[in-house]
């Protein structure tokens, strides 16, 4: 049984991976935590729901478009809200993202209402049986493949592309980067957009696992846990963190009751924060007086 729990937690891990990317990319580039993450996830899911279920846009195209919409809104957030606040205390920057989140939740509720809807499956539901009674559906496989694919693409982009290198430079020292001719506003906006893109896809994936409902945005906060475990600035750490948290959540949910299952990630995060605040793979913060 333990193995089958682990296997089924892997799908959740895929979604977490994308969500934690959403946190990490913005944090790496701009040293800000975006607490509106959950709302971007929700936005991705509702936009996809409308396109696919109501307008019958083909699934891959609907996925791409809804991720682009989220990316656009994220970039817009950067330009309208975060950019004027750059250089202000971290606290203001964090709280303002909560403000953005509140506005987005309300606007989404105005347009799409508060009801939960189930998505019509986009792939034929075939069940694969693995040893130890573990099962994976084709939907699970698609979600996992998507998560890994997007993750690898982003990793490659950050590592080898020109703007990826610029993003790392800007994250290192914004002033120096801008002096060497990098348009840091463009780079930061790009970071927000990429984060929004990943979150939009995560939203669609999670909506398939559960429902399209306003409570999807709760996923955003849980998603910071895997990001922290791996280290907030480590893209690779996100893999380990996501798998670990998804597994812990599933095991705790089954062996200790579902109430504790959903709180388990927060216990883990407290422990991690106290022992290794910079995560498993993150860079230790050095302070100067």
């Amino acid at each position: 049984v333990t193995f089958s729990i682990f296997v089924s937690s892997l799908v959740l891990a895929g979604v977490y991976l994308l969500v934690s990317l959403g946190w990490i990319i913005v944090y790496r580039a701009t040293k800000v935590l975006n607490f509106a993450v959950g709302e971007y996830i929700l936005l991705g899911a509702v936009v996809y729901g409308t396109m696919y279920d109501a307008w019958h846009v083909p699934a891959p195209l609907a996925l791409l478009l809804s991720a682009l919409v989220t990316a656009f809104i994220a970039a817009l957030t950067y330009d309208t809200v975060m950019r004027p606040l750059s250089g202000r205390p971290v606290f203001s920057q964090v709280i303002v993202t909560f403000g953005v989140g509140i506005v987005m939740t309300s606007v989404i509720a105005m347009i799409w209402g508060n009801q939960d809807t189930a998505l019509v499956p986009a792939v034929k539901n075939k069940v694969f049986h693995l040893p130890d009674g573990a099962i994976l559906t084709s939907l699970d496989l698609v979600i996992m493949a998507l998560a890994v694919g997007v993750f690898l693409a982003l990793l490659a982009y950050l590592r080898w592309s020109r703007s990826g290198r610029q993003m790392r430079a800007a994250a290192e020292l914004p002033l120096l980067a801008s002096q060497s001719g990098i348009n840091i506003n463009r780079v930061f906006r790009q970071a927000w957009a990429i984060s929004g893109f990943a979150l939009g896809i995560a939203g669609v994936g999670y909506a398939y696992l559960t429902l399209v409902s306003p409570s999807l945005s709760d996923l955003g906060l849980v998603g910071i846990v895997p990001a922290l475990i791996g280290g907030l600035d480590s893209v690779k750490g996100a893999i380990v963190g996501s798998i670990a948290i998804a597994a812990i959540e599933s095991y705790a949910g089954i062996y200790l009751g579902s109430g504790l299952g959903s709180v388990a990630p927060y216990f883990v995060i407290l422990i991690v924060l106290i022992i290794r605040p910079y995560g498993l793979f993150g860079v230790r913060e050095v302070r100067r007086v």
Partner: protein, 294 residues
């Protein structure tokens, strides 16, 4: 106060209110303790929880502390939920009417006066503590904790102090709320409540006592003002808007947070200060004069 004075950021306020209210539920509703004893014990217990909860702050700063308090919020609410479900069940605790001796607080006006007394007391504590050794130590920690440490301020102890005091005050407030509303249930203490409090502080003005009061009035007043604004609009639009009141409230409220943070980080407190200065200086609105006046 925690945020403004000691520079420690907490998003766990709602959880501490929950602790206070939960204590009120257990002691007041189940064990039938008198009102004042319940309020006092709510403060004490919340303070103890605050001391435990404050320990992560010894190692964490800034963003990491925000996350830690966020995690605490979820854990504490879960704790309250499990206490609640093992004692009274889903409906929550039903509190008796608050009474001191033979005098019971029932009408809204007496409640208002009682709360006013508590609010005044808390504000007095806030204002005065800033002038003591502890208050100065907190300010030092906020400005630069390493420097404070070098100057001989025991940073860890004062951080915990700040946590204990704030949690105790918030817990007391939670117990009062419990009596005022009459029912306590874990789902009353959500993260959005915590954000509401932070929003009050921001809209009012960070680190200013007057600001916190302005902010509280403003944010709690908003739900009452909006419907009457809609009432004055043409009826066709008004009917449509009425259904969306809750959402529009959310938009207004989120936008206010954003607008204040972007354009007026010092909040309403600063706006009134400026307005006052404008009238003092009236025919001459030059900055140079302003400096002379101040």
């Amino acid at each position: 106060m925690l945020t403004g004075v000691a520079g420690q950021i907490s998003l766990g306020n709602a959880a501490f209110m929950g602790v206070g209210a939960c204590v009120a539920g257990v002691f007041g509703a189940q064990l039938h303790w008198p009102f004042l004893a319940v309020i006092a014990s709510a403060a004490v217990i919340s303070g103890i929880v605050g001391a435990v909860a404050g320990t992560p702050a010894l190692r964490l700063r800034g963003l990491y502390l925000i996350i830690a308090t966020l995690a605490l919020q979820y854990i504490i609410v879960w704790g309250i939920q499990s206490i609640q479900s093992s004692t009274v069940g889903v409906a929550g605790w039903i509190l008796p009417v608050a009474s001191v001796g033979s005098w019971s607080i029932t009408s809204p006006i007496t409640w208002y006066l009682v709360l006013l007394v508590f609010a005044a007391a808390v504000t007095m504590i806030h204002v005065n503590i800033g002038r003591t050794r502890i208050g100065r130590a907190w300010s030092a920690i906020r400005e630069k904790d390493i420097a404070a440490e070098i100057l001989g301020v025991p940073v860890g102890r004062y951080k915990i102090n700040a946590f204990v005091l704030t949690s105790a005050l918030i817990g007391m407030q939670g117990a009062l709320l419990a009596y005022f509303v009459g029912v306590v249930s874990y789902d009353m203490f959500t993260l959005s409540i915590a954000i509401t409090y932070v929003a009050m502080i921001i809209i009012g003005g960070l680190g200013s006592y007057v600001g916190a009061i302005y902010g509280a009035i403003f944010v709690t007043g908003l739900p009452y003002v909006l419907p009457s604004v809609f009432g004055s609009l043409p009826s066709a639009i008004a009917v449509h808007l009425q259904n969306q009141v809750f959402n529009i409230e959310g938009v207004v409220y989120g936008l206010l947070i954003i607008v204040f943070l972007v354009f007026e980080p010092k909040g309403i407190a600063e706006l009134t200060r400026r307005a006052r200065r404008y009238f003092v200086l009236w025919p001459f609105s030059r900055e140079r004069l302003a400096e002379e006046v101040e």
